[in-house]
C-alpha cells in the first residue's frame, strides 16, 4: 500500500530533553524516521513516552535540542520565532484533543481564523470556509458558537479549521480522546477520508489501538526511542 514517495518529514537523530528544576529529563534520545507524503502515521506508546513532544517538534511549536528535522524540505529548527509562526500558518493543520476552538467565535469564524493570516479577500475566505464546513457536514451550524455544539461537532469544526489552509501536514494529538465511541468513529472516518481522498499527510498521536489501526503506519515510542510496529 505504501508507494515510494518523497518524504515530507525527515527526522535524523532528534533529541529533546526538558529541564525540571535543576534536573534535566531526557524525553526523546535518538529519533530517526521519515514520513512519506500522503502517509497516515499513528504514534503510539505509554503515557509519558514523549509522543506529544515528538508531535510538537514536527509541528514547529517546540524546538529540539539536537538532530535534524525537515518538513517539506525546510529545516524548521533554523527558523526564528516569526518565520516559524509564518511557516506553521501555511504548513501545519492542528487537531487537538480538546478541540481548542475560540469560545467567543462562531464555527464559521473559528474556521476562518487561519485564513486571516493570508492575503485572501473576505469573499474568497467565506467560500473556503463554506466548503470546509460542508465537507465536515456542518453547513447548517456555521453561526453556532462552540458551546452550542457537541464534542464531536466541535472536533469537526476543528478539522475544518485544520484543513482550511491546505497545509503540508495535519497533526492530531489524541483527536478522539475526549469523544464517545460514535463521535470518535466519526472523526476517524473523516481523517481516513482526508488521507485517502485528498492525500493529506496525517500524524496522529493515540493511545487507542482501534484508532491506530486506521493508520497506514504505526510507530511505537518507548523510553525515548522509536520502534516500528
Amino acid at each position: 500500500m505504501n508507494q515510494i514517495a518523497q518524504p515530507v518529514v525527515e527526522i535524523r537523530n532528534l533529541a529533546k530533553s526538558y529541564r525540571r528544576g535543576d534536573q534535566i529529563v531526557p524525553v526523546l534520545t535518538n529519533i530517526t524516521f521519515d514520513i512519506a507524503a500522503g502517509d497516515y502515521v499513528a504514534l503510539m506508546g505509554p503515557s509519558g513516552s514523549g509522543k506529544s513532544t515528538l508531535l510538537n517538534l514536527i509541528a514547529g511549536i517546540d524546538k529540539p535540542d539536537s538532530g535534524i528535522l525537515r518538513v517539506g524540505g525546510i529545516d524548521i529548527t533554523a527558523l526564528g520565532e516569526a518565520e516559524l509562526a509564518n511557516w506553521r500558518s501555511r504548513n501545519v493543520g492542528f487537531i487537538f484533543q480538546f478541540y481548542n476552538l475560540m469560545p467567543v467565535l462562531t464555527a464559521f469564524e473559528n474556521v476562518e481564523l487561519p485564513l486571516l493570516l493570508t492575503d485572501l479577500p473576505a469573499r474568497e475566505r467565506a467560500d473556503h470556509v463554506n466548503a470546509a464546513l460542508s465537507m465536515v457536514g456542518l453547513s447548517d451550524r456555521m453561526e453556532h458558537f462552540p458551546s452550542e455544539l457537541s464534542g464531536g461537532q466541535q472536533q469537526r469544526v476543528a478539522i475544518a479549521r485544520a484543513i482550511i489552509t491546505d497545509p503540508t501536514i495535519l497533526v492530531a494529538d489524541e483527536p478522539t480522546g475526549d469523544l464517545d465511541r460514535v463521535a470518535a468513529e466519526d472523526v476517524l472516518k473523516m481523517l481516513d477520508q482526508l488521507n485517502r481522498e485528498l492525500g493529506k499527510t496525517i500524524i496522529m498521536v493515540t493511545h487507542d489501538p482501534h484508532s491506530a489501526a486506521k493508520a497506514r503506519t504505526v510507530q511505537h515510542l518507548d523510553k525515548g526511542e522509536l520502534r516500528q510496529a
Partner: protein, 388 residues
C-alpha cells in the same frame, strides 16, 4: 493586527461584569481628572471674560488688586488725559474712576458672612464694560444711595435682590437693579456710584482707573508712558490680563490638588486594569497557545491584549466624561484669595478637555495592559496549550 477585533470585543462582552467594574473604577478617576480641568477652565473663562481687550486697568504699582490700590485725584487726572484714551459720542473721555471696597454680606442659604466686592463706577462704567447689561430694574442714579447687583450676587446674598436694601458704609443702600455680566467675575460684584461710595467709606482716593483705548494696539505706548512718568506710581495692565493674573493662584491650586488626586487615584485604576487583564490572560491561556500554534505572532497576541486594555480605558474614559459633563450644570463659588472676594464660576467642558481626558483614560488602559499583554505574548506555546 491579525487577530479579529470581534474576538477582543466579544471577550470583553463575555466578561461584561468584570469589564464594567474595571471600567467603572477608571471612570471615577477620569471623572476627577476631567472635573479638575473643567474647574480650572471655568475659572479661567470667568476671569478672562471679566476683562475687555481694549480696556486698561491702572492701579498703584505693586498693588496686586484693586482693593489694595490707591490713586489720588491729581494722578487720576493725569491718567485720564492720555491721548490714547477713547472719546465717547458725547465728547467725554472713556474713563471710569473706580473705588473698590470689600463688604461683608450674609449668604441667603447658610447665613454665613462672606466678602463681596462693591465697585464704585462712573455712570460710564457700563459703557466701558459692554458685557454687563441691566437685566432687571434699572441702573443706579448718580448721587443717590442706590446700587445694582450682579446676577450671582443678587441670587446669593441676603438683601441684594431688587427692592431689597443692604447696610454698609454706615448707610442703607437700595438695590434698584440686577445686571448680567456674561458669566464674568463682575456677576459676583455689586456696583454703585463711585462718589457716593467714596463718601460713605471716607476714602479720599480712587482704587483704580479703567480706561478704554481708542486703538487696542496703542496699549504698549500708554503703558510705557504711564509707568515711566515720575509723577505717577502706577502699573497699567490690559483688563483681560489683569483678571487672568488674579486667578493664577487659585487655578494653580485647583490644578495642583486635582492632578495630584488624579495621579494617586489613577495608580489604583491602573492596578485594577492590570488585575483584570492578568485574569483575562490567565483564563485564556489555552486560547493564546492555540492562536500562536495556528500561526499568529507574538506581536499579534500582544496587540490583541493591549487593544483589549485600551478599550477598557476607552469605556472608562467615556463613562467618566459622561458623568463629568453633568458638572457643567453646577456653579460653584469660592474665595479668590488674591482679591479676597467671593467668585462664582462653573465647570466648563471644552473639546480640548474631552480629548485630554480620553487620552488620560487610554493611557491608563495602556499602562495597565502592558505587562499582562507582554506575559500573554511571551508564553511558550506548549506550556500555554497544556493549560487547557
Amino acid at each position: 493586527m491579525k487577530i479579529p477585533l470581534s474576538y477582543t470585543l466579544r471577550n470583553l462582552w463575555m466578561r461584561r461584569l468584570t469589564t464594567l467594574l474595571t471600567a467603572g473604577g477608571m471612570a471615577l478617576v477620569v471623572f476627577v481628572f476631567a472635573t479638575v480641568l473643567m474647574l480650572e477652565e471655568g475659572l479661567r473663562k470667568t476671569l478672562v471674560e471679566t476683562g475687555s481687550y481694549d480696556n486698561v486697568v491702572v492701579i498703584r504699582r505693586s498693588a496686586q488688586t484693586e482693593v489694595q490700590s490707591a490713586i489720588d485725584r491729581p494722578q487720576a487726572a493725569l491718567i485720564e488725559s492720555q491721548p490714547e484714551v477713547a472719546v465717547g459720542a458725547d465728547g467725554e473721555r472713556m474713563v471710569s474712576k473706580e473705588t473698590v471696597v470689600l463688604v461683608n454680606l450674609n449668604k441667603r442659604d447658610s447665613g454665613k458672612p462672606t466678602n463681596v466686592m462693591v465697585r464704585g463706577v462712573a455712570p460710564r462704567g457700563l459703557t466701558l464694560r459692554p458685557q454687563a447689561k441691566i437685566i432687571a430694574g434699572r441702573m443706579f442714579s448718580p448721587g443717590a444711595s442706590e446700587i445694582v447687583a450682579g446676577r450671582n450676587a443678587a441670587e446669593r446674598f441676603k438683601g441684594a435682590g431688587i427692592g431689597e436694601t443692604l447696610w454698609f458704609g454706615q448707610r442703607e443702600w437700595r438695590v434698584v437693579g440686577t445686571f448680567d455680566a456674561g458669566k464674568s467675575g463682575f456677576d459676583s460684584e455689586i456696583w454703585g456710584d463711585s462718589d457716593q461710595l467714596m463718601q460713605a467709606f471716607r476714602r479720599p482716593v480712587y482704587s483704580a482707573l479703567l480706561i478704554k483705548l481708542d486703538d487696542p494696539a496703542s496699549f504698549n505706548a500708554v503703558k510705557a508712558r504711564l509707568e515711566s512718568d515720575q509723577r505717577l506710581t502706577v502699573e497699567a495692565k490690559r483688563e483681560t490680563m489683569f483678571y487672568a493674573d488674579q486667578s493664577e493662584m487659585l487655578a494653580g491650586f485647583i490644578r495642583y490638588l486635582g492632578l495630584t488626586l488624579s495621579i494617586i487615584f489613577s495608580v489604583g485604576a491602573v492596578i485594577g486594569a492590570m488585575i483584570t487583564m492578568y485574569a483575562s490572560v490567565a483564563s485564556r491561556t489555552a486560547e493564546i497557545g492555540t492562536l500562536r500554534a495556528l500561526g499568529f505572532r507574538q506581536g499579534s497576541v500582544m496587540a490583541a491584549f493591549m487593544f483589549e486594555a485600551i478599550l477598557l480605558g476607552f469605556v472608562g474614559g467615556c463613562g467618566g466624561l459622561f458623568l463629568a459633563s453633568f458638572m457643567q450644570f453646577f456653579t460653584i463659588s469660592t474665595m479668590n484669595w488674591q482679591s479676597f472676594s467671593e467668585l462664582a464660576f462653573s465647570f466648563s467642558l471644552t473639546p480640548g478637555i474631552a480629548a485630554k481626558t480620553l487620552a488620560f483614560a487610554l493611557v491608563m488602559g495602556l499602562v495597565g495592559g502592558f505587562l499582562p499583554a507582554m506575559q500573554a505574548a511571551r508564553l511558550p506555546i506548549i506550556d500555554a496549550l497544556r493549560a487547557a
